[in-house]
Each structure stands twice: as structure tokens, then as C-alpha cells.
């Protein structure tokens, strides 16, 4: 069943069948509903591991009273149909999946990533905005962070390293300017002295 997104009242099948825009019969909100075949598909029933019938049958590593149906393709442990996780066509157990996820080997399961390139850019740019003085200290930090971000895993969607390179260039420029200023001050002091 579908619900109106404004008042959350149920929508009759007439609303779903309507071409183009339709109106919620309760609150009068205009809705454009696109229905896909999955709406009519019944939900798949959950699997249950079958109990062992004889001594000849292998047992699941995690459920000793359940029949093993497949070995884990990562660790080789026997798994019942309850423990078997079908991941990209491979049969694996939940602990292997969790450890692979922890190592960052499965981008499909990642839910968050730190953007090191954005941190490097922020450290390179933000100190310039209020006053120039901190750049004497932040420029080397920005250079280090940008170099680190080059090797760190970036965004899942933005695959370019242009921000890292920009941050490196900006930090290098700040260091060069500071070197010139210090050089000028030293030269002036010596000349004056």
C-alpha cells in the first residue's frame, strides 16, 4: 500500500492508476506517483536452517544443531542456510563480511568516508581568510595533509585528486611567500646593521 507523503493517509488504487497527477482524497495534496513492478511482488520469506536428521550430516559452525549447506568461501567454515550470506554471488559468513567491511575491502558496504582532500583544502584556505599570519604554521600542515590525502581512499563518487593537488600548490605557494618575506627581512636587517 502507498501513503500520501503530506498527511500519510493511505492512497486508494484509483490514485495509483491515475495518469499524471492525482490528489490525496484526505488532504487534497497533489501527487505524481510512479509505480514499479516491485510493488506487486510479495516479500520473500526468511530462511530457516534445517535441523540435523542423522550423524552423517555436517553441522553448521555457528549452529551445531542445524544442517550445513555450504562452506564459507573466505574462512571455510560450514554454514547453515541461516548463516549463509549471499554477497555478490559469493557465499560468506557474517564475521568474514564484517572483517572485510572493517578493512575497507567492500566499498559496497561502506556507509561513511572521511574526505581528507577537503580537510587539506580547508587547512590551506581558511587561515588566509581572517588573517595571513597563521599560514606560516598551517601551510606545512596543509602540505602534509594534502600529501597524505593523495594516498588515502577518497570519495566513493568524486574520483578526482584535484583538490589534493590544489591544496599542495596553495600550501607550497604560502611557504614560498613566507620564505621570501623572511629572506627580505633578514637581508634588510643585515643591510641596516
Amino acid at each position: 500500500m502507498l501513503w500520501c507523503t503530506a498527511c500519510q493517509a493511505s492512497l486508494g488504487w484509483e490514485s495509483l492508476a491515475a495518469e499524471g497527477q492525482t490528489r490525496c482524497s484526505r488532504c487534497g495534496a497533489t501527487l505524481e506517483i510512479s509505480v514499479f513492478p516491485a510493488l506487486f511482488r510479495p516479500m520473500a520469506a526468511g530462511r530457516v536452517g534445517e535441523a540435523i536428521q542423522s550423524d552423517q550430516e555436517s553441522a553448521c559452525f555457528y549452529h551445531p544443531r542445524r544442517q550445513a549447506v555450504v562452506p564459507c568461501e573466505s574462512c571455510g567454515r560450514f554454514l547453515c542456510s541461516l548463516c549463509d550470506v549471499d554477497f555478490n554471488g559469493r557465499h560468506v559468513c557474517a564475521p568474514c563480511l564484517e572483517s572485510a567491511r572493517g578493512q575497507g575491502a567492500l566499498p559496497n558496504l561502506e556507509t561513511r568516508r572521511t574526505r581528507h582532500d577537503l580537510i587539506a583544502m580547508a587547512v590551506a584556505i581558511y587561515p588566509i581568510v581572517p588573517f595571513v599570519f597563521p599560514t606560516l604554521f598551517t601551510a606545512p600542515v596543509a602540505l602534509y595533509l594534502a600529501a597524505r590525502a593523495l594516498r588515502a581512499p577518497g570519495s566513493l563518487v568524486h574520483r578526482t585528486k584535484v583538490r589534493c593537488i590544489l591544496a599542495m600548490l596553495l600550501a607550497t605557494a604560502q611557504i614560498v611567500i613566507w620564505a621570501l618575506i623572511i629572506n627580505l627581512i633578514v637581508t634588510e636587517t643585515r643591510t641596516g646593521g
Binding site: 486508494g12 484509483e14 484526505r26 488532504c27 505524481e32 516491485a38 556507509t111 563518487v157
Partner: protein, 360 residues
Amino acid sequence: MAPRGFYRRLPGTGRTLMSSVTLWAADDHLLQVEVRGFTEIYRRFYFRDMQAIIIRPTGRVKAWILAFGLLTLATALVAALDSGLGWNIFWWSLAGVWLSVAVAHLALGPGCECALRTPLQTIGLPSLGRLRSARRVLEALRPMIELDQGALTREEMLARLRERAGAATPLEAAPDPASPPPIAPPIAVSGPREGLARPVRHDSGRAHEVLAYVLLLSAAVAMLPLLYFNVVLNASLSLVFVGRVVCIVVALARQNHSDLSIAMKRFAWTAFGWECVTMAVGFFGGMVLVLHLLSSGRLDPASTAPPSPLDIANFVKDNPAFKVISLVSSLASLTLGIWGLLAHRRLAPAREEPWRILPT
């Protein structure tokens, strides 16, 4: 088809003060990326699980355009009245900024709210805040979803819907006329508004009715200075405007997550918008008044004695701009009040006989 692991950017960006949300399409799923500070948060919606996409056009953008348009007019009015060269440039620049924001909103098109239905939940897609981008995304996703789920012709879909309606339980097929339609579980809103939305509650619309009456009263009060000007009387009647603000705040708070009709909610938001405009006009009008008092010599910045309120009131009373503003304010309040009462009248019978608003 794009190679595995490659994401294609889809139109639309949802922005809040602290985050931005975008949508990306892979070959088998839709990825929602929310950037919060220096972290990207991912949420995947597989094409095989998508049951429906619901787009609901909203008047949010129209309200913004109206607000910025009125702000432009108010600022331009101040700029036209102000003769100082430096201030003149400032006011015209400010009017230009407001106008460009209004034009940008106009160019991006009408607003909407988009939700995605999966077998387990309905999820809001905050990046699709414009009708145009939502439709473009839907057109881009449709072939991908059909590739995973197969395509249904319109006839097939109608047949299945009829089948479903026929197979429904007697209660679903013929709802009890005395009971309102069932309420859905709260919508899970992803992105900046993370978490579950609050459940919808019933509201009688009493706060909106009171607001409508207060608006009618303030329409009469706004006209009074044009007919009879008395400083003490008019100052005491300005309490009505304070009451109006309180009523608007209460109505907006009451209608949040309530089952009130769209018309009632629009009425409260329009009253709120009008109040903002009134305040902006009052602010700019006050500034113009000070400038005029300074230029006419009634207000002397060097003098330690404050100017007489009666003197200022007499100056304001004779100003044609003040008369125009009072008249417009009165008419707007009258219109809003009548609209509110009519919307409440229309709401009342539906509340008493809920079966009248059920689908036949």
C-alpha cells in the same frame, strides 16, 4: 551501461546550513551522498527494491519568490525616496541582490518533495527539491529500474491494481464510513533530517479559526488611523498586532505534523509571510521616516531633548505613503481573514463526516 563501481551524478542538490545531499546512480543502485563537514555519509537504494517514487509539488518556492520580490520592492521604494548618494547606491545594490535571488528561484522552477517507497519504508529524498530535477531523475531512473524489475504496461499495472483491490480484506475493500483512512507509519527521512518523522496527529483547526478572526479585527484596526487619528488609542490598538503574531506562531506550531488540510496550512504560512512583509515594510518605513525627520529638521541629532511623539505622529498622519500602507495592510488582513474562515468552514463538515472525503 556504466561499468561496475562507476557513479553517475543525477540532477538536484539539497542544502542545509551544515550539509549537502546529492544522488548518484550506479548500475544496480542509487547512492545518496550527504556531505557533513569533512565526512561523506552514504545510503544505497537498490533498483530491485524500489516500489514507487512519489513527487509532491509544494508552494515553498513560490513563497520564497514572493518574499524576495516584496523585499526587492520595499528596498527599491526606500532607494527611490532616499536622496543621499551613498545610501542610494547601497539601497539599489541591496534591491539588486534580492531581485537576483528571486530570479534565481524563478529560473530553477517550482519546488517539490520527493519520496522513495521500498518494501520496508518510505524515504524522503532531500536532494530533489525542485520539480524539474525530480522529473529528470525519475526519467533517468526508470530504464534502470525496469532493467532490474522488468517493465509493466499500463494495462498490466491496472489489472494488478484491480486484483489487489479485489483481494483486499473486507475492511480494506469497504472501509468503515465512520473511521478515517488508515494512517501510514512515519516516513523515514534521510539526509539532513535524519531519523523518523513524528506521527501525524489530529487537529481541529481552532487555532487557525482564531487567527482568521484576529486578522479580521486587525483589518479594522489598520483602517482606524485613516478615519480617526488619536495617538493613545492607536498605540493601544497596536496590541492587536502583537496578538496577531502570537496567533500565527501558535497556528504554525499546531499544524506541524497534523492532519489539517493543505488549504489551512497554506493560510497559516501566507499569514506568516504577510507578517514578515509587514515587519520588513515597517522597518524600512521607520528608517525612511527617520531620514525624512532629519532632513525636515524635526529631529536634531545634536539636541539632547527627545522629539515630541505628538509631533512625529502628526508628521506620519499626513504622509500619503502611510495612508497607502495602512489601506493595503487592512485589505490584505481582510482577505486573509475571510480566506481562513472559508477554509475552516470547508474543513468542518469533512471532520464530522469523514466518509465524505474517502475515495468512492
